[in-house]
């Protein structure tokens, strides 16, 4: 049981301007789940990509079963029985499970022995209760099933050491539970697992040992039974972390947004909002809770002018803004943090300055008579960076190189700097680490205290309960009920989210 199967000694990896891994020591014992815990940008993925042969260390040594190895590429990793399951799956959507498993198999030449592969897949699938048909196309599978295909791929190649890079980031709570069962069974079979995460609850649930990384360095390795969640959080962030936020008493002001019997269709042509009505007042956070896909995204898009309302009205401070253009709506004081920061809110290949001015580029002082003053633009970006303490490698580096937390800070900073009357935030902390999450939530509360009306749409019920003053539960494009935070009970909201209860009358 105590056999050390992977040992990394003094691993160091430089990227231009960053020391991603700074003399990291790490070991994995046979039959354990060893979690790598750390905030985004702490160096977890870099270390694992080194084990998988995608990056090569500048310094340091790797031993597998006591033997020194040089892992040049993922094939080498596989030959050393290391299999990595990436956060973003490495699957070809239009191919079948079988074809994905066969891809890159060295044992297959021009002719692929589908029968044999299919048989082996089924054996693996049965053994671990994966319930995967080798002939299904990848796109037909749910995210959880796709992840199982990734696991099959590694097991098929006889992996003994499995690396899972933030595997639960894309899963529903139920799917995560299923994954944990699978992992436990893999352990029983004698596999060893490296689990990467920054979600403390699941880390406490599943790990044997935990190694905490911060800024590319190892903070320490601990046994789960010796620590608490709070202790881990402190190791990870470097200071105390609050699991609940202090809130000033509500000072509600006048009605800012009124949504009246609004209807809109989604991309598939189905009615996603069904006469939805609610109001948001100045100085409050109105949280919309609901299970993914009940019209949350469509609601935000319709209010901000990115989607046409087919019926009903949105009224901002007594002015009708229904179906006005996104620019008009933004100029009237509605700012928006979209759910997908890299696809909608930011332009990944452009630099910090170019992203910072996305809202203000066409006004003075940044633009005068159609010409952009690059110096003013850079000053503006720097002021946002200072105010929100955003970490950027260089101001002219593309924002895709920023960590998720810093991207979101930049986005939030830009939107708040517009001094909106209404701020719509959709999943503002999704995928962020503890520190960044806390920062974003505190900012939302601060703006609320300044009198801003905040519409918070989130699938994270804890988040809704932590910061909202009133909660509207959305189900199939309707608000089931609006509850004041004092009366909010988790169970009751859970039932409403599942559609139990007649719509409010």
């Amino acid at each position: 049981m105590d056999e050390i199967i992977v040992q990394a000694k003094g691993i160091t990896k430089y990227f231009p301007g960053v020391l991603a891994n700074n003399h990291i020591d790490f070991e994995l014992k046979k039959g354990e789940i060893h979690t790598l815990l750390g905030e985004n940008g702490a160096g977890k993925s870099t270390l694992m990509n080194i084990l998988d042969g995608i990056y090569h260390p500048d310094e340091g040594e790797i031993y597998i079963k006591g033997k020194k190895v040089h892992i040049q590429n993922p094939f080498d990793a596989m030959a050393n029985s290391i299999g990595m399951i990436h956060q973003h799956f490495m699957l070809v959507d239009t191919l079948t499970v079988l074809e994905n498993v066969a891809l890159g198999l060295k044992s297959q030449g021009l002719y692929i022995d589908k029968k044999e592969i299919s048989k082996q897949i089924e054996t693996i699938s049965k053994k671990y209760h994966f319930n995967i048909n080798p002939y299904s196309k990848i796109w037909q599978l749910s995210v959880g099933e796709q992840q199982r295909v990734e696991i099959i791929k590694t097991l098929f190649r006889k992996a003994e050491i499995l690396i899972l890079d933030e595997p639960t980031a894309v899963l529903t709570p139920q799917e995560s539970e299923d994954l944990f069962k699978i992992l436990n069974q893999l352990l029983k079979e004698g596999k060893s697992i490296i689990f990467i995460s920054h979600k403390l609850d699941e880390v406490m649930e599943i790990s044997d040992r935990i190694t905490v990384l911060r800024k590319g360095k190892v903070v320490g390795t601990v046994h789960k039974k010796d620590v608490t969640k709070g202790y881990l959080a402190k190791m990870m962030v470097g200071r105390e972390v609050l699991f609940s936020l202090e809130r000033k008493p509500l000072k509600r002001r006048g009605e800012v947004l009124k949504v009246k019997e609004l209807e809109a269709y989604n991309d598939k042509g189905f009615k996603a909002l069904k006469k939805i009505s609610f109001s948001v007042f100045g100085g409050e956070i109105f949280g919309i809770a609901g299970i993914s896909g009940n019209g949350q995204k469509i609601l935000a898009q319709t209010i901000t002018g990115l989607r046409r309302a087919t019926r009903g009205k949105t009224i901002l401070n007594d002015a009708d803004i229904t179906n006005a253009s996104p620019k008009v709506i933004a100029n009237k004081g509605v700012n928006y943090i979209p759910p997908d920061r890299l696809k909608v809110g930011l332009i990944p290949n452009l630099d910090t300055t170019e992203n910072a001015i996305l809202r203000s580029y066409d006004r003075e002082p940044i633009t005068k008579r159609n010409f952009i003053d690059h110096q003013k633009a850079a000053e503006y970006a720097k002021s946002l960076i200072r105010k929100f303490n955003i970490m950027v490698p260089r101001i002219d580096a593309p924002v895709k190189l920023l960590s998720g937390g810093n991207m979101q800070k930049l986005l939030l900073a830009r939107e708040i700097a517009e001094r909106p009357k209404l701020l719509i935030a959709v999943h503002p902390t999704r995928g962020l680490d503890v520190g960044a999450t806390e920062f974003i939530r505190k900012q939302l509360l601060k703006e609320r205290d300044n009198g801003l009306a905040v519409l918070l749409i989130s699938e994270d019920l804890d988040e809704i309960l932590m910061v909202s003053d009133r909660i509207g539960v959305i189900y199939e494009g309707q608000i089931m009920k609006v509850i004041n935070i004092e009366d909010a009970e988790r169970n009751k909201i859970g039932l409403l989210m599942a559609g139990v209860n007649s719509p409010k009358n």
């Binding site: 040049q72 002018g305 990115l306 996104p326 928006y336 909608v344 809110g345 010409f371 952009i372």
Partner: protein
């Protein structure tokens, strides 16, 4: 063993070194092809350089060939920055030439030269712009893929030209050849140096490059097209008017291609005919791309390509190697240049197998 490792950023030194080394390797490969013609590659390259840059006259021919490339690539850069793949400079060039020719052929020979030249240049620009606006509208209103529409419209343009040349615009005195009447002197762009064919188009090209540079680097419009090009959804989110920007960008892109076509007629050929070198419209795509969409670098690359063309004629005549050799050298250089792009994305390490 060769190892590929992803890299996030590229140093400026490397950015400059990659194309230089690529060109060198391309020339070495070209040399191998030359050896097959039983000629000494060094002599061919010497002759090529001499033929392109060796004397005032040969260099002037290089510049003449560069003029259309400079104009077209400057325009393409505007569209490409918006991720609008304008493959239709070929057609826009032809239509620009036709529009300009209409005035060149129909205005009285007594008309003031500056006035007529201004008119035909504007007409050339307008013709190319209108031809560019067709795919722009299809894209903006119905999301039709612009690669296909711009490409197909090239054939339409070519057949319009053929119709005119075999039909209504044929010079009755051309003995049946598909040629128009020659342009009168007042419709010819002035030549800048005696005994060379360098014409006023080069000044138009330089002006276009400067304007395009300012547009993409300094203006609100330049910023907007970059945002659209990099992330259309972010552009919509920020309230940028995508339709308007597609129209403006394609008007500039098509317009400059049209101006290039007209300049070639009015500056070099002096009549409308079927062979008016619209192939520059395709070469300019490569030029724009190699210049990483920077108009000033594109101008320099245009001169290099012009040199290849002019030098190619020279070696054909002087050493009697087939003109195809020039194409081979050009392709080999391109091949390595495009292959070199991978070094901007990956670090390649050579490592002996230690295991």
């Amino acid at each position: 063993m060769l190892l590929f490792e992803k890299r996030e950023t590229v140093s400026t030194k490397l950015k400059a070194a990659i194309p230089l080394v690529s060109v060198f390797l391309g020339l070495v490969t070209g040399a191998i092809a030359i050896l097959f013609t039983r000629t000494n590659p060094i002599i061919v390259y010497q002759a090529l350089v001499k033929g392109a840059f060796g004397s005032v006259y040969t260099f002037s021919e290089t510049l003449v060939a560069a003029i259309p490339l400079i104009l077209i690539s400057a325009g393409l850069i505007v569209a490409f920055r918006m991720n609008f793949w304008n493959i239709g400079a070929y057609g826009q060039y032809i239509i620009g030439a036709i529009f300009g020719s209409f005035f060149a052929l129909n205005m009285p020979a007594t008309m003031s030269r500056p006035l007529l030249l201004t008119i035909i240049c504007l007409a050339g620009f307008l013709g190319g712009a209108l031809w560019g606006l067709i795919p722009a509208a299809l894209k903006a209103f119905w999301e039709v893929n612009e690669v296909i529409t711009t490409l197909l419209l090239n054939y339409v343009a070519l057949y319009i030209l053929k119709y005119l040349m075999y039909g209504p615009w044929r010079n009755p005195e051309s003995h049946g050849f598909p040629l128009s009447k020659p342009f009168e002197l007042n419709a010819q762009l002035p030549r800048l140096l005696p005994r060379t064919r360098i014409h006023f188009g080069i000044i138009l090209g330089i002006i276009a490059v400067i304007i395009v540079y300012i547009i993409i680097k300094k203006t609100k419009f330049g910023y907007e097209i970059r945002v659209i090009g990099e992330n259309k959804r972010a552009a919509r989110y920020a309230g940028i008017n995508i339709t308007k920007n597609i129209f403006i960008a394609m008007a500039i892109s098509g317009g400059l291609a049209g101006l290039a076509g007209l300049a070639q007629l009015s500056g070099v050929i002096h009549m409308l005919q079927i062979e008016i070198n619209p192939g520059y419209g395709y070469t300019a795509i490569v030029v724009a791309w190699l210049a990483s969409l920077n108009p000033i670098i594109a101008m320099l690359i245009s001169v290099a390509f012009g040199g290849l063309e002019a030098g190619g004629y020279q070696i054909q005549m002087a050493i009697r190697v087939p003109f195809g050799i020039v194409g081979t050298i050009e392709s080999a250089v391109l091949f390595f240049l495009l292959g070199g792009e991978i070094l901007k994305k990956y670090r390649i390490k050579l490592r002996r197998n230690i295991l």
